[in-house]
């Protein structure tokens, strides 16, 4: 059934597609090693974040935290803002996003088009300034509701209740699940579900390693681990640099015709690593990974063309995932 009563009902149930050209070649007679991409860019606003946004809003409604006409406040310039803006519009809420003023114009245009209001935080001053701005807004508007995706259990639950079951339904022989690590919601929810159902499954995290500017903390104690993160859900965790992420992003569109954002390139890099290990060990493997979004929003970075070194320069200092 592909008919839905509204756009919100069309969230999830994304296709899982095989990658016959990118999957490693195994020696004759050896068990197959196959890669599968779950196309989360086929969600209503084009990213995996639609699932979390919908679940977080519904959970807040059920808990009585959100009532019709309320204002949702979320500090994000990324996909979560776009997803929340769509959900807020259809469920009758106002959305205010706080973001640094140096965010790309596509992001601002997209958010405004979906109906979000934007409060800019001065780019100068970095995260300290962002914190100061955020504190000020929260103090001035104590009635605004913040869903806080890094600590909201409904974010992980969206994947426990939807992404995980969909994967198992479509790929009962799954041996590895690979996802990107940001809020950790996708990996925690999907990982918990699959661990309960599939003996020996490996849950693999791919974490983007940004240019140095992004790690501009004053000291280690300013670091942050999302409240949702539980290391026991993961089997392994890879750090993937900008160059490898760009290389794999380009390879995916060149070889398999799938046009994705750079975070997916990082995820594919880790998926290929575990797939090649399985080939070496002579083990069967069905490696499913998450395509978090398409590449459209990142075209203006210029990192889809030119040499890898040029692409790396273009993404230096940017949060590309």
């Amino acid at each position: 059934m592909t008919r839905y009563e509204s756009l919100l009902d069309a969230c999830g149930n994304t296709p899982l597609v095989g990658l016959p050209r990118l999957s490693p070649v195994v020696p004759e007679g050896a068990p197959p090693v196959r890669l599968w991409a779950k196309l989360e860019d086929r969600n209503p606003t084009g990213s995996v974040k639609d699932r979390a946004a919908l679940f977080m809003v519904r959970a807040a409604e059920a808990a009585g935290r959100l009532r019709p006409g309320d204002t949702i406040l979320e500090p994000t310039s990324g996909n979560t803002g776009i997803s929340l803006a769509m959900v807020a519009k259809l469920r009758g809420y106002r959305l205010v996003c706080v973001m640094p003023e140096n965010v790309s114009t596509e992001r601002v245009q997209l958010l405004r088009m979906y109906g979000a209001e934007i409060i800019f935080s001065p780019a100068a001053g970095g995260s300290n300034q962002a914190v100061a701005t955020a504190k000020q807004i929260a103090a001035e508007h104590p009635d605004w509701v913040m869903l806080f995706q890094y600590g909201n259990e409904a974010n992980a639950r969206a994947h426990y209740e939807t992404t995980g079951p969909e994967l198992l339904r479509d790929l009962p022989t799954i041996t590895h699940f690979v996802g990107g690590l940001g809020t950790t919601g996708t990996l925690m929810g999907t990982g918990r579900y699959l661990r309960e159902k599939v003996e020996g499954i490996e849950i693999v995290a791919a974490e983007p390693r940004y240019g140095e500017l992004v790690y501009g903390l004053r000291n280690i104690d300013e670091g942050y681990v999302p409240e949702l993160y539980d290391a026991s859900v993961l089997s392994r965790r890879f750090s993937v640099g900008t160059r490898d992420a760009v290389l794999r992003t380009r390879q995916l569109v060149e070889v398999e015709g799938i046009f994705v954002g750079f975070s997916t390139g990082a995820v594919l890099h880790a998926a290929l690593a575990v797939a090649h290990e399985a080939v070496k060990a002579g083990r069967r493997a069905d490696v499913a990974f998450i395509v978090a979004d398409g590449g459209w929003k990142y075209l203006s970075t210029g990192a889809y063309g030119g040499t890898l070194a040029e692409a790396e320069d273009a993404l230096e200092g940017q949060l590309w995932a």
Binding site: Q149, T183, R209, G223, L234, R236
Partner: protein
């Protein structure tokens, strides 16, 4: 045994500004002791008084998180690359601002 160790910006005050240094050791614990002899105080920023890795420090051996390879007992080999990074969640702006707002409410 030479192991390349990549140092994040915020810890380069211990390495005289060097982005990468060399060390040796058969495990991560050995390597950090070796480094601390040359760059005094570095180990103390990475390992807690209780002897575990600092919560906001991530260490990778050849791009894989050591917490899944035995943590301080992770085995090292000649030619390995060890990368030290502070823990920051994706969307560094988002979490900092969101965490601050949430803290403001409590």
């Amino acid at each position: 045994m030479a192991i390349e160790v990549r140092i994040p910006t915020i810890l380069r005050n211990f390495t005289g500004g060097a982005k990468a240094v060399e060390g040796s050791g058969e495990s991560l614990a050995d390597l950090l002791s070796d480094l601390d002899a040359k760059y005094s105080g570095l180990r103390g920023r990475l390992v807690t008084p209780e002897g575990g890795l600092h919560r906001f420090v991530n260490v990778y051996v050849n791009d894989e998180d050591v917490r899944f390879l035995g943590a301080l007992d992770a085995k090292l080999s000649d030619g390995d690359t060890v990368t030290i990074l502070p823990a920051v969640a994706g969307g560094a702006f988002g979490f900092a601002a969101a965490a601050a707002m949430l803290g403001n409410r409590l």
